[in-house]
């Protein structure tokens, strides 16, 4: 933990209320937290507790109803869509439970095209994407379409894509949710390997076994952070 470095994410008094018609549901109540570089954080809590909502707000996909969120030094709580889009593009890598790879592109292009979107020249992007997939153990799968890959392989492509462009923050919502136990653990291992002193990782899960990968655990219940504790990565919990 590098306590002195500027936080990647700084959330103050974040509230989120969803309105549908006359029905209002307050999903987040006064959440304040910091995410720091070099830290692998797990966000845990029961279904419906607001994990996905909080992750969306912290990563700039959703605006809070009130409160303030700074992502990599930019206040995104009131910023225009284009501003938070730029911050996401530069600083955030996403890994989704259902992968969200581009079905029409092969593994290599799935990673490379995101780099192209980020302004990197295509030749360079493809070379970079190739070496990244290689490191994910997918050297022999570059030309495969997502539909021709296993779930674990798809999620590794997604991780390679999230890493493309060297983001400061990697966020994942249940990245192992669709995988069997062992594949899930190896995907988490791959994510853990991406942690550097400059980079933070925030993963939402309700699988307590994954605590072994975390430096820090946040627990949320009914839209409130109820626990926030350090954890020593690599120490096996009783569940394991």
């Amino acid at each position: 933990m590098s306590g002195g470095a500027a936080p990647l994410v700084q959330a103050r008094n974040v509230q989120k209320t969803f309105k549908s018609g006359r029905l209002e549901t307050q999903v987040l109540h006064d959440v304040s937290l910091q995410l720091r570089p070099g830290e692998f954080t797990l966000l845990m809590g029961p279904s419906g507790s607001g994990k996905t909502t909080l992750l969306s707000i912290l990563s700039g996909l959703l605006r809070p109803s009130s409160g303030q969120v700074e992502l990599c030094g930019v206040d995104i709580s009131t910023a225009q869509d284009a501003v938070s889009a730029r911050v996401r593009r530069r600083h955030v890598g996403f890994v989704f439970q259902s992968y969200h790879l581009f079905p029409a592109l092969n593994a290599l292009d799935n990673v490379a095209e995101v780099l192209v979107l980020k302004g990197i020249d295509r030749m360079q992007a493809r070379a970079h994407a190739g070496s990244m997939l290689q490191r994910m153990g997918l050297g022999a799968r570059l030309q495969h379409l997502p539909s021709e890959l296993s779930g674990g392989e798809r999620q590794r492509v997604a991780i390679a894509r999230a890493l493309a462009g060297n983001p400061s923050l990697i966020v994942g919502d249940e990245p192992t949710g669709a995988l069997d136990k062992n594949t899930g653990l190896s995907v988490m291992g791959a994510l853990r390997e991406q942690l550097t002193p400059q980079r933070g990782v925030l993963i939402v899960t309700h699988d307590p076994r994954l605590k072994q990968f975390a430096d820090r655990v946040l627990e949320i219940e009914d839209g409130r952070i109820v626990a926030d504790y350090a954890h020593t990565a690599g120490v096996n919990e009783a569940y394991h």
């Binding site: 959703l62 192209v116 979107l117």
Partner: protein, 374 residues
């Protein structure tokens, strides 16, 4: 974005084929409708164009080629006396009553022109030749009118009555049709005068060739004192005749209406196709947005797809239009696909695709990045 957009489009071949078909049919419709409209316009003035001349002497007050009374030979002599005038050529043109071989009555248009080397009349002969028409009471018929005239497929030598005089078919044209679809009977000017009872030397029109086109205004001024004849440029006379038939008559309105309806139907087909395709690709669009694509980059996703569909589908549509043109030409319908109508058709197709992509673009601009986590 181009690569993602085009790969996504090409990925689902079935949907792509359906989309291309939609765009192709819509553009075919646009090209054929515009081509038909122009075809009708051109058919109404085609005799003027082929008779040629820089200026036309027409009876005062005349709005359209088809309603003329005759001009006297003195008009011709006056015109020929101007030093700018190179030649004056008469055209005898008008409605006649015909009696078909089985005795039924109908109307036709007789055309007899003073010949000149560059202006062969009739111009689309497929059987016989212009000299054959110089023999007494010989006429040409158009292949597309054979059934209407109750002639068989080898009509040369067949006879029928024109204004109670028996004429013999001596030549066959292909695809010379009038706006009203009344059969054209071409013949020599002498025969035409005889069939229509026009005095020797008189004619319905005189086409005037000039030594220098710049003289046109001067000759027109010089003729302005004449009460019963007016000099107009050939281009103006063609436009006037086209406007009378296509613009002024209900037929033109109906044609324009169908053409516009065709474009609207096309826009709806293409719009539906694009919209459902955009809906299909919402997950990818949401992912792209989450990864930081701006609204305009996302719009690029749709616009690349529209462009590909427009170019390929439009190309197929144009090819189908050309095929339809040759099929329709056999029935005598002229679908004009020349630079003017082609560029109008392309413009219409592009406009159609642009209008059709509005709904898709609206959807794209409203994509919520947060849906990727749902």
């Amino acid at each position: 974005m181009r690569r993602i957009a085009l790969h996504s489009l090409l990925f689902d071949r079935g949907k792509l084929a359906a989309a291309l078909l939609g765009v192709a049919l819509a553009t075919t419709l646009a090209f054929v409708q515009i081509g038909l409209y122009r075809g009708f316009e051109v058919s109404s003035s085609t005799v003027i164009e082929h008779h040629g001349g820089d200026l036309w002497a027409i009876p005062t007050g005349l709005e359209v080629l088809d309603n003329a009374e005759t001009l006297s030979v003195s008009v011709r002599n006056l015109l020929a006396s101007h030093p700018c005038v190179r030649d004056v050529r008469a055209l005898v043109y008008g409605f006649v009553f015909i009696r078909k071989p089985n005795g039924t009555r109908d109307n036709a248009l007789v055309v007899g022109a003073e010949p000149r080397a560059e202006h062969v009349m009739p111009w689309a002969l497929v059987e016989g030749n212009a000299q054959d028409l110089a023999h007494p009471l010989r006429v040409s018929v158009d292949r597309t009118d054979l059934a209407k005239l109750q002639l068989d497929n080898a009509p040369i030598g067949a006879t029928f009555e024109v204004n109670n005089q028996r004429v013999t078919v001596a030549a066959v044209t292909q695809g010379i049709r009038s706006f009203t679809l009344m059969p054209y009977l071409f013949t020599s000017i002498t025969n035409a005068r005889r069939l229509m009872g026009v005095v020797e030397g008189h004619a319905h029109f005189f086409a005037v060739g000039l030594h220098q086109p710049q003289c046109a205004a001067e000759v027109q001024r010089w003729m302005a004192q004449q009460h019963d004849v007016r000099l107009v440029t050939r281009a103006d006379w063609m436009k006037k005749t086209e406007a009378y038939w296509v613009g002024g008559s209900g037929a033109g309105l109906v044609l324009a209406f169908t053409a516009i309806l065709g474009l609207i139907v096309g826009a709806v087909i293409v719009g539906q196709t694009l919209y459902s395709m955009t809906k299909e690709h919402l997950p990818e669009l949401a992912t792209l947005k989450a990864l930081g694509a701006t609204p305009w980059e996302l719009a690029g996703f749709v616009l690349w797809q529209v462009s590909l569909l427009a170019v390929v589908g439009g190309g197929i549509g144009l090819a189908i239009a050309y095929i339809l043109r040759s099929v329709m030409a056999r029935t005598g319908l002229n679908v004009m696909l020349e630079p003017g109508t082609l560029s109008l058709g392309i413009f219409a197709a592009v406009l159609m695709c642009a209008v059709a992509s509005i709904a898709s673009l609206r959807t794209v601009f409203k994509v919520e990045a947060a849906t990727v986590l749902r």
